[in-house]
């Protein structure tokens, strides 16, 4: 049917793409999954990370500097958004949706003003073409995939294992109780936002050498992140990682068998079926995560 090396490439590329997808979605798991905030600016924070990387490289600074600055920028912006806007109305869902959608549009236009409408790219700091079992692969992309999965696992340990995770959940689930126990919920939310922003900003810089940078790139990242977060079970970091990897593999494998558009349809349909088949979230009162 198809030569075996194509299968190898499909699996490999699928896993790399998948781990990158999971990594990008990670911040959203924290903010949406655990903290219950519908943050529509998530994709734009990713774009800001990539934009920062481009600006630094344009200014003749080494690529590695972007890996430090980008998370600071995106994390900073996330914290500012939280402090100045979202916190003011206590993260109410309806208002959060309106506000973050408005911010999405604003951030896009700011990016357009800074970088112009044409797509941009940056050179990878190193990029040997690696020969694997019958196919070639970009060395940098492979490393990016490894970095993505490593940091994702680290975050998983930190959030699920340490106090941070339970603090985040407690602050969201029952604010009053948490406050009465002496937890500064505002501070906890701030940390959550900062972490999520930093992660996705870092992802933006990490993926820049093999993806292009464009002022509209955030929308796609946002939609994809939501899908991954929900597929993996909202609020479960481990689930997000698995879902990302699975989705990446699914995309690659379906593309082997079908024409590209049909492959996409199949991927989407299977993801949908999976959500339904789990019959999760049997609702008690409508809008519960």
């Amino acid at each position: 049917m198809f030569p075996l090396e194509h299968l190898g490439l499909a699996l490999f590329d699928g896993l790399v793409n998948g781990s990158v997808m999971a990594f990008i979605a990670l911040g959203l798991t924290i903010v949406f999954g655990i903290m219950n905030v519908v943050n529509l600016t998530h994709g734009e924070l990713y774009m800001l990370g990539a934009l920062t990387c481009w600006l630094l490289v344009q200014s003749m600074l080494p690529y590695a500097s972007a890996l430090i600055v980008a998370p600071l920028v995106s994390g900073g912006v996330a914290v500012i958004i939280n402090m100045l806007i979202l916190q003011r109305f206590g993260h109410e869902p309806g208002q959060t949706i309106l506000a973050t959608f408005g911010l999405l549009l604003i951030l896009q236009q700011v990016a357009l003003a800074i970088m112009g409408p044409a797509p941009r790219s940056v050179q990878a700091p190193f990029n040997p073409v690696i020969e694997l079992a019958g196919f070639s692969y970009s060395g940098f992309k492979l490393v990016a995939g490894l970095v993505s999965i490593s940091i994702s696992l680290l975050v998983w340990l930190v959030v699920e294992g340490s106090r941070l995770g339970s603090l985040l959940r407690a602050s969201q689930e029952n604010r009053m109780m948490a406050e009465s126990l002496g937890i500064d919920t505002n501070r906890v939310f701030m940390v959550g936002f900062a972490l999520a922003g930093a992660l996705v900003g870092f992802a933006g810089a990490l993926t820049s050498p093999f993806r292009q940078i464009h002022f509209l790139m955030g929308l796609d990242a946002l939609a994809m992140s939501f899908v991954v977060v929900v597929l993996g079970g909202v609020g479960r970091v481990g689930g997000t990682i698995t879902a990302g990897l699975a989705l990446g593999l699914l995309e690659s494998l379906t593309a082997l068998l079908l024409t590209p558009t049909l492959a996409r349809v199949l991927t989407v349909a299977l993801a949908l079926l999976y959500i339904v088949a789990r019959r999760l979230g049997a609702p008690r009162g409508g809008w519960r995560y």
Binding site: I85, I97, F101, L105, R284
Partner: protein
């Protein structure tokens, strides 16, 4: 007493819109025609979002199914606008039942993403069968196939569009108002507020959700069908994600009273965007800022809590 007053406000709105027509300049008449059609979509979305509290991100597919049903019928089968309209509504009703059967079994975020994925699948299918649907580029309907064409000898294009959409909108407002005051409507509200209790009382909550979703989808599809038959253009762009997100904004902005809220929200967002476009170069930026401001403004309304079923202070 309160019930009758908000219903009254709902009936006043169409009369006001008809009365204001002669006062509007030509461009505003054209703009309002578009907004009125979109308001029907807004009402459709509100039935799902406000009445049963489920936030869908896939309503563009339901809008588009009405658009494609009507448009493809008028293009390939017979240039009969009335038949096409019926086909469009039938198509969207059918799709809503299918979507609904599948998606109303899950709740909350899963429903949100489930509907998003389902509508993505439809969008991709429209692209895949682009020989029939025209894909992203779309198809242009012949004049005779459109409602405007059919009303040609009687009304000018502007008049035909405005009053056809106003007539359709009025019917929708009346239906939604009646629904919200009916027993079924009260069941929907109960469903949104406390599903567990309703189930305990012996009601089939899944069936109720399906019914609501179907009504919601049929209305959205009617909007899409009207769009196709009044403007003569169908394209896959209308099945995209942005078209699913816009009604969320309209309904949120419009406020708690489902009888008038969807209309007011749709009017407010669209008219303000148009105003911004007319005055400023950076209108997208202005719309963004406007939404942030609106988020603050709607702060006082406690309905946001009830609307999204977030339980507060109940431990």
């Amino acid at each position: 007493m309160r019930v009758k007053i908000s219903a009254l406000a709902a009936l006043v709105a169409p009369l006001a819109l008809a009365a204001v027509y002669p006062l509007l300049p030509e461009y505003q008449r054209a703009l309002m025609s578009r907004v009125l059609i979109l308001s029907i979509y807004s009402y459709g979305y509100a039935v799902c979002f406000q009445m049963i509290g489920l936030m869908s991100l896939g309503h563009a597919a339901l809008f588009a199914s009405g658009m494609y049903g009507a448009g493809l019928y008028a293009f390939y089968v017979s240039p009969d606008p009335l038949a096409a309209l019926l086909v469009g509504v039938a198509a969207s009703t059918l799709l809503s039942i299918l979507f609904g059967l599948v998606s109303t079994r899950v709740g909350g975020s899963y429903f949100m993403i489930g509907t998003l994925l389902a509508s993505q699948a439809l969008y991709l299918a429209a692209l895949h069968f682009n020989e029939v649907t025209g894909g992203e580029q779309g198809l242009v309907l012949k004049k005779e196939a459109t409602i405007v064409g059919a009303l040609g000898p009687l009304l000018s294009e502007l008049d035909a569009r405005y009053f056809t959409s106003l007539a359709a909108l009025t019917i929708v407002i009346v239906c939604v108002t009646i629904l919200s005051h009916s027993r079924l409507g009260r069941l929907f509200h109960a469903l949104r507020d406390d599903e567990g209790k309703l189930e305990a009382l012996g009601y089939n909550t899944s069936a109720l959700k399906l019914v609501a979703f179907t009504i919601s989808g049929a209305l959205s599809g009617a909007s899409g069908a009207l769009q196709a038959l009044l403007y003569g253009y169908i394209g896959a762009g209308y099945a995209g994600i942005l078209n699913s997100v816009e009604p969320v904004l309209w309904v949120l902005v419009g406020g708690p009273y489902i009888q008038v809220g969807p209309l007011l929200g749709c009017l407010a967002v669209n008219l303000l965007s148009d105003l911004a476009r007319g005055l400023l170069r950076g209108h997208v930026l202005t719309v963004g800022a406007g939404l942030v401001a609106l988020a603050f403004a709607t702060g006082r309304l406690r309905w946001a809590y009830r609307l999204l079923g977030v339980s507060r202070g109940r431990g």
